[in-house]
């Protein structure tokens, strides 16, 4: 599954995202962090091994964290 997250540029926010993925033993295949078009906004692009049902639950948990603007997965 691919996950695309828009987030404000808070330090260590990516840690929270990865910890949530780790907790459910999703293996991370790819991770990229880059500036998005707007200032102070970052884009995380991830690819993980997991099922659609499980990503659905984790996405909601990621979304509630302070600094996460939006999350998409496909």
């Amino acid at each position: 599954m691919k996950i695309s997250i828009l987030a404000s540029n808070i330090e260590r926010l990516i840690n929270r995202v990865i910890i949530l993925l780790n907790r459910s033993n999703f293996s991370l295949i790819y991770l990229n962090i880059s500036y998005a078009k707007k200032p102070y906004i970052m884009r995380y692009t991830l690819e993980v091994k997991c099922t659609e049902v499980s990503i659905d639950k984790i996405a909601k948990q990621i979304e509630k964290h302070l600094g996460i603007i939006s999350i998409l997965y496909y």
Binding site: A7, I19, E63, I69
Partner: protein, 561 residues
């Protein structure tokens, strides 16, 4: 113009005062000394309670928060002081307790050098905090402290850790009062969707056998009256989780659900047609096997956190939002109803349960049961007493038999099941509710995890009542060994010290009781005493808590004996 500047630690304390922090629990050390010093300078307005271990400090802050509804605050130094907070953070996160932990940190330029007492507490505490942050400069203190309090108490409350470097405590900066109503990119409380409430009301109005399950969410939202209004209007029985609301004076409260819960609500969960879950999260100790849990029922879930909906149990109608707001909207839309038959089902099963209770409360055996002691406590306690329990058999028995008659009356470690929680939490609770009686029910195992906190009583006269139910075992572990491990009591028997002499060493009066006829007098004496008191009661060694829903690999059924 000359703008006055203050030391970072001074600014920190000023912010705590603005947040109306009256008590904080802590332990000093090298990296937090400047803050301790500033706190001492403001001793008339803010009271620093010295615990004997940082775990004690955080549990005390939790007890304070749970009983008062305010944010609990604790402080500790860097390194070992910070790591000692982890258990409490995990406990507060899973039990949604609003607390702020302030930890010292080595100076900014020493970060990453393995400096003395440096530990990377931010990365360690990520999974166990709602939010955490480091303050490396004094000028950031005002903003960060106010923001942290806002986050800790908003939405579903939780613990926030603030790590403040030594140099930030010493630098000078300007103090400014910042107001916080909103943090950007933070969904603290979802918007209420009225169409979902209407959908829920239609289901409830058509239901013959609806059941409400409440969790701690209703207490945190202070929505008890709103809950009762809904239940009374439509005559819907209310069952509660371990941390939920209980009111023994109210006929519609039918007891506790879960592994060791009351029999009637547990049995009838599997017969109801609509399950209205409010501020609870379908923990596995509540549901047992989710494949057979309430599969006949449609589920309405009132929740503040979107990720809890459908997490464990599929939900038919999600009602997101603060239940203080959603409950009245729902009550407006449900019709009055009598539901005589459904209510009488509860009464019938409750009668059957009383028979099980006979064994606990009126035993014919010589040895004492935990249940009969709770019964005597009910007899002599104040009406609005707060019961703080530890973790184990006594916790389940106390929650089952304690007579609840006012709100915020039970404090216990629910989600994490932290042994050693209760003694410091009881002390914190006494600071949070000076005029309520605090009863700490604790096992011989849990007592020995944090009894160093009796030291708090040396300086502070806190008349808390400690009831130590001594069975000479880690009782809950022994019960499982008896049931599932062929009675091999591996490492669960305890060789205990003389608890009464231990209490005496801390100037605490106490008594040890072994005979049934001595109990009433001893319990009365404990409550009459106007200082702290330890009542140790020797109870049956190999007693089992039933009914019990055995879960998972052990099969799924309610065992009555």
């Amino acid at each position: 113009m000359n703008i006055k500047k203050y030391k970072g630690s001074e600014i920190l304390v000023k912010n705590l005062l603005i947040e109306r922090v009256e008590y904080l629990f802590g332990y000093p050390g090298g990296a937090i000394m400047s803050v301790s010093d500033s706190l001492d300078r403001h001793a008339g307005h803010i009271c620093h309670i010295l615990t004997r271990h940082e775990q004690g400090a955080i549990h005390a802050a939790q007890g304070y928060a749970r009983v008062s509804g305010k944010v609990g605050v604790c402080i500790s130094t860097s390194g070992p002081g910070a790591t000692n907070l982890i258990t409490g953070l995990a406990d507060a996160l899973i039990d949604s307790t609003p607390i702020i932990c302030i930890t010292g940190q080595v100076s900014y330029n020493l970060l990453g050098t393995d400096a003395f007492q440096e530990t990377n507490i931010l990365d360690i505490s990520f999974p166990v905090t709602k939010w955490n942050v480091q303050i490396p400069r004094a000028q950031d203190i005002c903003q960060t402290i106010r923001k942290s309090f806002f986050i800790a108490r908003s939405g579903r409350p939780g613990p926030v850790l603030i790590d403040i470097t030594k140099d930030a405590q010493l630098q000078e900066a300007i103090f400014e009062e910042i107001l916080f109503h909103k943090v950007s990119y933070f969904r603290s409380c979802p918007k209420v969707e009225v169409n979902k409430i209407e959908e829920a009301a239609i289901l409830i109005n058509a239901a013959k056998r609806p059941l409400i399950l409440v969790g701690q969410g209703v207490i945190l939202a202070e929505a008890e009256e709103e809950l009762k209004a809904l239940s009374e209007k439509a005559n819907i029985p209310i069952a509660s989780t371990l941390l939920g609301i209980r009111d023994n004076n109210h006929p519609l409260f039918v007891g506790m659900i879960g592994m060791h819960g009351h029999y009637a609500p547990n049995v009838l969960t599997n017969q109801c047609d609509i399950l209205i879950a409010i501020g609870m999260r379908f923990d596995d100790r509540v549901t047992g096997n989710i494949n057979i849990y309430a599969i006949q029922a449609q589920i309405i879930h009132l929740e503040i956190e979107a990720c809890e909906i459908g997490k464990n149990i599929p939900c038919d109608v999600p009602v997101l939002g603060d239940c203080k707001k959603t409950l009245p909207l729902l009550t407006e839309r449900v019709q009055e109803n009598i539901r005589q038959e459904w209510i009488s089902d509860f009464i019938t099963i409750q009668k059957q349960e009383e028979k099980i209770g006979q064994k606990d409360l009126y035993t014919k055996k010589e040895s004492l049961t935990m249940g009969e002691i709770i019964q005597w406590i009910n007899q002599y306690k104040n009406k609005n007493a707060v019961m703080v329990t530890d973790v184990g058999q006594h916790q389940m028995i106390a929650s089952r038999y304690f007579y609840f008659s006012s709100s915020k009356s039970q404090i216990t470690s629910g989600g994490l099941g932290t042994m050693g929680f209760s003694l410091p939490a009881a002390m914190g609770a006494k600071f949070g509710a000076r005029y309520r009686q605090i009863i700490c029910v604790i096992g011989d195992g849990g007592f020995q995890m944090t009894f160093q906190e009796l030291g708090i009583l040396l300086k502070n006269n806190l008349p808390i009542k400690i009831v130590l139910l001594n069975n000479g075992f880690l009782g809950m572990v022994r019960q499982w060994q008896e049931l599932f491990f062929k009675r091999r009591y591996a490492f669960s028997a305890l060789l205990n010290p003389d608890f009464i002499r231990l209490a005496q060493a801390y100037n605490i009066s106490g008594k040890k009781i072994e005979k049934r006829k001595k109990i009433p007098e001893a319990v009365k004496e404990m409550f009459d005493c106007n200082t702290a008191y330890l009542l140790e009661i020797i109870v049956e060694r190999e007693y089992n808590v039933f009914p019990m829903i055995t879960i998972g690999t052990y099969g799924d059924e309610i065992r009555l004996y």
